[in-house]
C-alpha cells in the first residue's frame, strides 16, 4: 500500500482511490456530488503541467492544479 498524496502527483495512466478532499465547504461538496466520493477509483488520463484530465465514476473531468492539489489519493 502506498502513501497518501495529492492527485496532481499521480503519473499519467495510473489509477488511485480518493482518500480525502481538502476543499473547504462548498468545493468539497460540489466535488463529491460530481462523483469524487470517498474511495472512488480515479484514473489520471492526462497530466500536463498542472492541468489534468481524470476519469471518475465513468465521467471525464478537466481540472486545474488548484483542485488537483486538494484531492488526496492513496492505494495506487
Amino acid at each position: 500500500m502506498c502513501k497518501v498524496m495529492p492527485l496532481i502527483m499521480v503519473p499519467e495512466g495510473k489509477e488511485c482511490r480518493i482518500s480525502d478532499i481538502h476543499g473547504g465547504r462548498g468545493l468539497t461538496r460540489h466535488l463529491t456530488e460530481m462523483g469524487f466520493t470517498y474511495h472512488a477509483p480515479v484514473k489520471v488520463l492526462r497530466s500536463e503541467k498542472g492541468s489534468l484530465i481524470v476519469a471518475v465514476n465513468g465521467c471525464k473531468y478537466a481540472l486545474s492544479k488548484g483542485i488537483a492539489m486538494k484531492i488526496m489519493v492513496g492505494e495506487c
Partner: protein, 666 residues
C-alpha cells in the same frame, strides 16, 4: 384537471441530452426568455398530448440542487416555489451512479418525478443490462427508456407524465441518514413545524436537511420567521462541516445499495471517446490541431459566406435604387432609400458571416470538442490570469459579444467571471467586420486581408494585456481552481447545430431590426435637418455635432464626419459604416462610398487604420453594454468598461497616428 394545463419541468445533469429531449417534446413551439432577475436562459415550450396541454420548462443542467452555482439555485427555486406538476428527470443511462444523485435530491424535495432513461441506446450498445422493473420498485419512481436524438420513447414518457400528474397525493420518499443526523433532522423539523407559513410552502424534512448542510439560500428563506432564532441557536452549536459531506456520502450509499441490483455490467471500458482524446489532447499535437480547426472554421466563415453576402448586397442595392426612383415625395424616398435601406442593409450583408461562424462553433460544441479546447488552452489562459473556462466565451466573442458574455455564467468564481466579461468586447465581433472591410478595401488594396486579420490580432492582444492588467491591479489574485466535465464525443447533428446557431445569431438579427433601424433613422434625421440643407452636409445637425466633437478626436487625425460616425457607432458598431455612407453622400452603394472615401483628402491610409483600431476598442455597443450591466449587476463595472474602452481606443489610435506619422506614413 382536464381543462388545466400541466406544468412539467425537465431536470438533469449537464450533458445528458436534456435539450434534445426538450426539442423532441416541444418541436418548434419554444420560447426562449430569461429567468426572472438573472440572464440565465429560460426555455419553455408547449405540447398537446392526448388532448391535454402540457407546458414544459427546461431547467438549467445541474449536478445537484444545492446552492453551489446560479444554475442550481434557479433549478431548485423553480421546483420548490413554482411546484411543477411533474418533474421529468433526464438520466444518462451510461452513468447511473452520478445521475441518480440528483434523483435523491428531487425525491427529498417532494416532487413528483418521472425518470427518462436517456441515451439508453448507448448503454445497450455497451452491453449494460438495466432492469427497469427493479429500478422502478426501488426508487418508487416510473422509469421510461428514451433516445432523445432519435425521438424514441417520447410518447411513452408523456403518457407517464400525464398518469403521474393525475395521481393525487404521493407518499414522501426518504433517505435515512442514520443515528445522530436523523435526531438533528427531527429536532429541526419539529421547530420548523411551528411556522405554518413555512410548512405550507416547503417540505419540512427538506428544509431541515438543507439547514444541516449549511445551505445559505435556505437560511435566507427563514428570514423573518418566528422560528428563525431558535433554529439559529441549534445550528450555531453544530459542526456543520461534518454533516455536509457525511450526508452526501449517505446519499451515494443509498444509490450504491440499489445500483448493483438494477444494473449489471454498468462499468465503463476504454471507449472511442478515450481514443479520440488521446489524439486531440496530445501534448504536442493538441494545440496545433486546435489552431488548424479554428483556421478552417474561419476560412470557411469568410469565403463560404461571400456569395450569400453578395446576393444580399445586390438585393439591397436594387431595392434602394428602386425606392429612390419610384417613391414620392423625395424626402420619403431619401428616408427609406438612404436612411433605412442604406443603414440596415449594410448590416444585414454580414448575416451569412455571423451565422456560419456560429454554426461552426455550435457543431464543435455539440461534438464535445470545445470542452477539450478549454483544457488545451487552460495553461495559456492561466498565464494571463484566467482559466480554460474563460476560453469558450472569448471564442464566441468573434461572432457576437452579447451571447458570449452570457456564456460566462458557467464560470463560478466572481472575479474570474468579471475579468472574462470585461475583456470580451475586445474580441472582434462580426459587427466590426463591415468597418474593416470598407476601410481596408478602400485604402489598403491588396493588403486588405492582412489589415483585417491584424485587427483581429490587435483585439486579442488588447484582451490578453487587459486581463493581465486587471489581474495585477483591480482584481488581484489567482484564477480560481476549475473543474469541468468533458462529455463523451458525439456526432453533432446539423439540426441541433442550426437550432443553436439560430439561438445565438438571432440576437444579431433582432439588433438589426431594432437598435440599428432606430439608429439609421436618427442619423438620417440629423443629417437632413434643418429642412433644406444638403443631405449630410456640414450645415446639418449632424455636421454641427461633428464640429463640436472634432477637437476631441483631432489629435487622432479624425475630422468631423468620423466624429459623428463614431458617436452613432455607440448604438451598434455597424452604424459607423452606415453613417459614413450618409455623411460622405454615398448611401448604400459600397463602391460609391469607397470612391468618395478615396477622394476625400481628410481620410487616408494612416488615420483609417487608426479608425479601425478605434472602432474595435472603443466602448462596447449598446446591446453589449446592456448585457454587461445585467451580468455584472453593477453600474460601476459597466461604466468602467465604457471608460476603459474609450480611453484605450483613444490612446491606441493616437499612437498609431503619431508613430505612423513619425515613420513617414502620414
Amino acid at each position: 384537471m382536464k381543462d388545466k394545463r400541466i406544468r412539467v419541468a425537465l431536470a438533469g445533469n449537464p450533458n445528458v441530452g436534456k435539450t434534445t429531449i426538450f426539442n423532441a417534446i416541444t418541436g418548434a413551439r419554444q420560447h426562449v426568455g430569461n429567468w426572472p432577475g438573472v440572464t440565465v436562459e429560460r426555455k419553455s415550450g408547449r405540447k398537446v398530448h392526448k388532448g391535454i396541454a402540457i407546458e414544459v420548462v427546461d431547467l438549467p443542467g445541474t449536478y445537484s440542487l444545492t446552492a453551489y452555482s446560479l444554475d442550481e439555485v434557479i433549478a431548485r427555486d423553480y421546483i420548490v416555489d413554482e411546484r411543477p406538476d411533474v418533474v421529468v428527470h433526464i438520466v444518462d443511462a451510461t452513468n447511473l451512479e452520478r445521475n441518480l444523485y440528483l434523483t435523491t435530491q428531487l425525491m427529498e424535495l417532494g416532487a413528483k418525478v418521472v425518470i427518462a432513461l436517456n441515451m439508453s441506446d448507448l448503454a445497450d450498445a455497451r452491453g449494460d443490462v438495466i432492469d427497469l422493473k427493479r429500478m422502478e420498485e426501488f426508487l418508487e419512481i416510473p422509469v421510461i427508456k428514451t433516445v432523445g436524438s432519435k425521438e424514441f420513447g417520447i410518447d411513452e414518457l408523456l403518457d407517464e407524465v400525464l398518469r403521474e400528474a393525475e395521481k393525487g397525493e404521493h407518499h414522501e420518499h426518504e433517505i435515512g441518514y442514520g443515528g445522530e443526523v436523523e435526531e438533528e433532522i427531527n429536532e429541526l423539523e419539529n421547530i420548523l413545524g411551528d411556522d405554518e407559513e413555512l410548512s405550507k410552502r416547503y417540505p419540512l424534512r427538506w428544509l431541515s436537511v438543507k439547514l444541516l448542510e449549511g445551505d445559505k439560500e435556505v437560511q435566507k428563506k427563514l428570514e423573518g420567521s418566528q422560528v428563525e432564532d431558535r433554529i439559529k441557536k441549534i445550528l450555531d452549536k453544530m459542526d456543520k462541516e461534518k454533516y455536509e459531506t457525511a450526508m452526501v456520502d449517505k446519499r451515494y450509499e443509498a444509490i450504491n445499495a440499489v445500483l448493483p441490483q438494477v444494473c449489471s455490467r454498468c462499468v465503463e471500458k476504454v471507449t472511442a471517446s478515450d481514443l479520440i482524446d488521446r489524439v486531440l489532447t496530445n501534448k504536442y499535437l493538441g494545440i496545433p490541431i486546435f489552431l488548424a480547426l479554428m483556421w478552417g472554421a474561419f476560412e470557411l466563415t469568410f469565403t463560404f459566406a461571400t456569395p450569400f453576402m453578395d446576393f444580399i448586397d445586390f438585393s439591397f442595392a436594387w431595392l434602394a435604387g428602386f425606392v429612390s426612383e419610384n417613391l414620392e415625395p423625395a424626402w420619403l424616398a431619401s428616408l427609406i432609400g438612404d436612411g433605412i435601406i442604406g443603414g440596415v442593409g449594410f448590416v444585414l450583408i454580414f448575416i451569412p458571416n455571423i451565422f456560419i461562424l456560429f454554426l461552426m462553433l455550435s457543431l464543435l460544441e455539440d461534438s464535445g470538442y470545445l470542452a477539450r479546447a478549454a483544457f488545451i488552452m487552460d495553461r495559456l489562459m492561466y498565464k494571463i490570469g484566467l482559466h480554460g473556462k474563460s476560453f469558450i466565451p472569448m471564442l464566441m466573442g468573434f461572432g457576437c459579444n452579447v451571447p458570449a458574455i452570457m456564456a460566462t455564467r458557467s464560470i463560478e468564481d466572481k472575479n474570474d467571471r468579471l475579468i472574462t466579461i470585461l475583456i470580451n468586447p475586445f474580441m472582434s465581433c462580426g459587427a466590426r467586420l463591415p468597418v474593416y472591410v470598407l476601410l481596408a478595401g478602400a485604402f489598403f488594396g491588396k493588403e486588405a486581408g492582412t489589415v483585417v486579420f491584424s485587427m483581429y490580432v490587435l483585439g486579442m492582444v488588447v484582451a490578453i494585456l487587459s486581463a493581465k492588467l486587471f489581474r495585477t491591479t483591480l482584481l488581484k489574485g489567482k484564477p480560481a481552481p476549475f473543474i469541468m466535465e468533458l462529455p463523451p464525443y458525439r456526432l453533432p447533428t446539423l439540426k441541433t447545430g442550426i437550432i443553436h446557431m439560430w439561438e445565438r445569431g438571432s440576437m444579431y438579427l433582432k439588433k438589426a431590426g431594432t437598435v440599428i433601424l432606430l439608429g439609421a433613422i436618427i442619423v438620417w434625421l440629423l443629417a437632413s435637418l434643418p429642412w433644406g440643407v444638403e443631405y449630410g452636409a456640414e450645415k446639418s445637425i449632424a455636421g454641427m455635432i461633428g464640429h463640436v466633437l472634432e477637437p476631441l478626436v483631432a489629435p487622432l487625425g479624425f475630422d468631423w464626419k468620423i466624429a459623428v460616425a463614431l458617436l452613432f457607432g455607440f448604438l451598434a458598431k455597424e452604424i459607423v459604416v452606415g453613417s459614413m455612407g450618409v455623411l460622405y453622400g454615398a448611401g448604400e452603394d459600397e463602391t460609391a462610398l469607397t470612391e468618395s472615401l478615396q477622394n476625400d483628402p481628410n481620410i487616408y491610409p494612416l488615420n483609417s487604420l487608426g479608425l479601425m483600431a478605434f472602432t474595435l476598442i472603443y466602448m462596447p455597443c449598446l446591446a453589449t453594454v446592456g448585457v454587461i450591466r445585467k451580468e455584472t449587476g453593477s453600474w460601476k463595472w459597466t461604466l468602467f468598461a465604457i471608460v476603459y474602452g474609450i480611453g484605450l481606443a483613444w490612446l491606441i489610435s493616437f499612437m498609431i497616428f503619431r508613430v505612423g506619422g513619425v515613420l513617414g506614413y502620414g
